[in-house]
């Protein structure tokens, strides 16, 4: 569905944000795109949606080059940006303005979102709080029901109950044919939601693997101080760490531990090797 081959991109010459990126996204999965601030997550989503051109390499989405920005291509993707710029209209008008552009728009999903988020769509968007604006934007993003949904930090600005509602809505209304890529640095927001994880670190894709596979290779648990772990950190319940899963059982992946271990200088290369081989 999405194929990036040796993609490099920089906003300034000599300062690449992404370097020689290779990535394959398969249809029917929810991907978590994780990375620290400024690692290029938004840039990567913008390249996939055709808002940015790669300096080098090739990006293909639905076997098309996104930068051509053909109308039928744009009908198949929805990009929910981190900073939403909503028009000066009511929530109802907002949906009325943009819904007809998406042939896949689902009234059923829209009604479910409206009920779950419980926002007054008759109110002007400019008078809404950041969280409410975000909910309105998420409603449109989910209801558009496009085959590819790109969400950049969708939970920023949402309160804790709304984050939970967002997860439930996404889990229950995304069909098997749809692909969702959610970029975030708040890894806990994605737990129990994503099927695959992509970690972007130091201008490269560290790995892109299904959680299932990660859970077979690594174990995330309490560790003894003398135990050989790739990475460990103190927690209220003792020291927790990442170790090789040498049992036949799958472990429960802690995204936060995985992310910290993968981006820590000491354990980065070991984690990368184990997961990729």
């Amino acid at each position: 569905m999405i194929q990036l081959t040796n993609v490099s991109f920089g906003y300034r010459r000599q300062k690449p944000v992404l370097q020689e990126i290779n990535l394959e996204i398969k249809p029917g999965n929810i991907y978590g795109l994780l990375g620290k601030n400024g690692e290029g997550k938004t840039t990567l989503l913008n390249i996939m949606s055709g808002l940015l051109f790669p300096d080098k390499g090739e990006c293909l989405v639905f076997n098309e080059m996104p930068e051509k920005r053909k109308a039928h291509f744009l009908q198949n993707i929805f990009l929910l940006p981190e900073e939403i710029n909503l028009p000066d209209v009511t929530g109802q008008e907002y949906i009325k303005m943009f819904a007809p552009f998406y042939p896949t728009f689902s009234n059923e999903i829209f009604e479910a979102c409206k009920e779950s988020f419980d926002i007054d769509l008759t109110a002007p968007l400019r008078k809404m709080s950041l969280g409410q604006k975000k909910k309105a934007a998420i409603m449109l993003a989910l209801s558009a029901n496009t085959p590819l949904l790109l969400m950049d930090e969708p939970t920023n600005g949402l309160d804790i109950p709304s984050k939970s509602i967002f997860r439930k809505l996404l889990a229950s209304h995304i069909s098997e044919e749809q692909t969702v890529i959610i970029s975030t640095h708040q890894v806990r927001d994605l737990e129990s939601l994503i099927d695959s994880v992509i970690i972007l670190d130091r201008k490269e894709i560290l790995f892109n693997k299904p959680l299932d596979e990660i859970s077979r290779k690594l174990d995330f648990r309490k560790v003894e101080t003398e135990e050989a772990s790739f990475y460990s950190e103190p927690s209220p319940s003792g020291t927790v760490g990442v170790v090789v899963n040498d049992t036949a059982e799958k472990s429960i992946v802690s995204l936060e531990l995985l992310f910290n271990a993968a981006t820590s200088s000491a354990s980065r290369s070991k984690i990368k090797d184990i997961i990729n081989h």
Binding site: H72, E83, E93, P100
Partner: protein, 237 residues
Amino acid sequence: MDTNFSLHRILLLLKADWIEHRKNYLFSMGALLLVWLFIIFILKLKTTDVGQQAAVFVFGGLVTFLFYCRHVGNKVHKSISRYYTLPASTLEKYLTLLIEGCIFFITYLVIFYSGLLVWKLITPEAPIITLKDITFKNGSESGIFFLTSLIFLSYMTFRKHAFLIAIAGLATYIAVFAGFYVRILKAIHDNNQGFFKSSFLFDSFEFGATLYTPLMILFSVIMLCIGYLKLKEKELR
């Protein structure tokens, strides 16, 4: 089938624009009508002077055009993520902007003539100008087409001070052209050559003058094409 162009999507773009800006449009139309009625009833147009009406028409047209250009500028420069990720091709978005320009002009005509009709009902002897009365002389229509295209392109290109930049650009162009013209005349004078009819220079100038209108139209069309490319370029943040 060309899926990259659809009239339906142009209608959707127009509808979305109307939903978003209708309050602004209705307010501006009301304000324009009030100002026009104020000019008619308070300043009292001379009943026989179509020239005065023409002057007001041209001024009002300029104000409407600048309002439209500001609207285009805001759309192109401010609402970037929302406007550019809409599923419509650049051509559809650009044509929608141009169609909006036509709608603005037609609306302006309706408001202008509505005011005049009211005036005519009250003062039956008052003349009403027709578009024919406002006809410009010596190919000025093409000059106006050029000027409006230049200002439109400036608003598409520059986020701030677009009007001033367009006028400054035009002034520079005129100054360079005038300087060039004076130099030629001076060279002719210095060489004691006459600028007589049927001389080569005279014929060249005559030929240049006949090319004025087609050249102005050509440049205007080129500027509108550059406007399209600018919109395409803006899509890449």
